[in-house]
């Protein structure tokens, strides 16, 4: 920094030297401040650059880890990303060109012409009420091929189990059974509904879930796969798919593409909490 014209209008006396020294000190102070400013600016740029770099690295690492996650064929994706024996092959016949399929993340039971999609969360108390009233009927209708029942497990209520993520744990167990012993899945689910924990409790323990699976006749080697992370990953994806399909609340019941519940403005699930109502309506649809 060049020294500007000294203040020579003033009387050149002893005070000049002092003033000169003071002036020099202040110039130095300004210089130092400028230097600090530069250093701080550099620090800011470095921090921002590091964060951006970190995000880019995370993005790249992630892109490498999940090859070709193609959203149009979610069933295939779920099986490719399964290194263990857990949820492999698409549980339902890969959506034959039939009716609009809200999401491929589901397990199908029965082969009736009435398409019933049920989106649920094992922690959701309304789902529990719905299932305890209608679960057996739905299973029976699927068993005699009156309906095709597609079960869509969700986990959006994970926060309602005091940190234990009951929704994911229960749904993972269901996924493991549905993949490996489809014949036991609905009876296992029925036991979970029968013993459904209240919202905002810790939910059933893993041991309790395993116990109900055993009661339903699920073999131990299947139970051993309940906690496989691939199940939870699948449940996350299933939850996402259900939300993408338009689920706004659970239980979401969709019959032949018609939203019966689970969307705002649709009649409440409570209309279907009367035993037999759902069954008779579905039978009418199938036979009428």
């Amino acid at each position: 920094m060049s020294k500007k014209k000294p203040s020579n209008q003033r009387p050149a006396q002893a005070s000049t030297a002092a003033a000169q020294a003071g002036r020099q000190a202040r110039i130095d102070a300004i210089k130092r401040e400028e230097q600090t400013k530069t250093r701080v600016t550099i620090a800011i740029v470095v921090v921002v650059a590091l964060v951006v770099l970190g995000i880019v690295v995370a993005l790249v690492a992630n892109a490498l880890r999940s090859p070709a996650s193609n959203p149009t064929v979610p069933a295939a994706t779920s099986s490719t990303s399964a290194p263990t024996s857990a949820p492999t092959g698409a549980p339902e016949e890969p959506a034959t060109t039939t009716a609009p399929n809200p999401s491929s993340y589901s397990f199908a039971y029965g082969a009736g012409k009435v398409q019933v999609d049920l989106h649920f969360d094992f922690m959701c108390s309304a789902c529990g009420i719905f299932e305890r009233v209608n679960g057996e009927d739905l299973a029976a209708l699927a068993a005699n091929d009156t309906i095709t029942l597609r079960m869509h497990p969700m986990n959006f209520l994970d926060s309602m189990s005091m940190g234990t993520q009951y929704s994911t744990r229960a749904a993972s167990a269901f996924v493991a059974v549905a993949n490996q012993r489809p014949d036991k899945a609905l009876s296992f689910a029925a036991l979970l509904w029968e013993n459904q924990p209240a919202e905002n409790t810790k939910g059933l323990t893993d041991d309790q879930i395993a116990g109900y699976a055993r009661d339903a006749g699920v073999p131990d080697e299947v139970i051993a796969t309940f906690s496989a992370s691939t199940n939870a990953t699948w449940v996350d994806a299933s939850n996402k798919a259900s939300l993408a399909a338009g689920v706004q609340g659970t239980p979401a019941l969709v019959v032949d593409g018609q939203w019966i519940s689970g969307k705002s403005g649709k009649p409440s699930i409570w209309a279907y909490a009367t035993p037999g109502v759902v069954k008779s309506e579905l039978e009418t649809l199938a036979h009428g």
Binding site: G22, V51, L243, V247, G249, T250
Partner: protein
Amino acid sequence: MAKKGTSTASPQPASTNDLDHIDTDNAHDDDLDLPPPRRGLLDLRQENAWIFGFMLFSSLVSLTASFVLSIDALQIAADQDKILPCDISATLSCGTVARSWQAHLLGFPNAFLGLVAEPVVITIAIAALAKVKFPRGFMLAANIVYFAGFIFAYWLFVQAYFVIGALCPWCLLVTLSTTLVFSTLTHVNIRDDNLFLAERISSKLQWACRVGIDLLLVIILLAVVVTLIVVKYGSTLFAS
């Protein structure tokens, strides 16, 4: 004094706002001509228009987010199993956070606090942009109250991150905007010496603000938040 353009004395007595900070505490040698300080982006930060404009913008963002979160809270109160538009996945979910006890620590949704507090900041920012000078005590009180809000926002972030285990996009926006409002408010109060601090501390802080250390701190804080999120949720966030 080297001032922008004109050499006439500034009409505003509040010269602390201007560029000549170095001079303000040594009024006796005002006529000493020093090299004009370079004006960089860091200096722009010291000006009212920038500070209060930024504060206005941040508080409007915060108010919007509070509105959305309040409406979400009402919807969830009406229907526990309701899925909100921002329930994007299990980990990215407003509903998950909104259903937690932490979301209504004081017995009502936290977002209501934003609805109450942000309009005050908006008013301060607009008034200050219109050249209103608030009393020091008033600004100190605003700073203290907003500090409580700032702490609360980060407590909530920590809870959501470590305990609830879900990210809520609108909550994160509140965390961000609260940080920005708090930092600008504190910055302006340090600059204008509104915090009733000892001269020595006050001038140290003013120096820190001039060289941009406050900005550096804010950026480090936000960088920590972003890093935490990417570390824990990166694979989920970037997956889709």
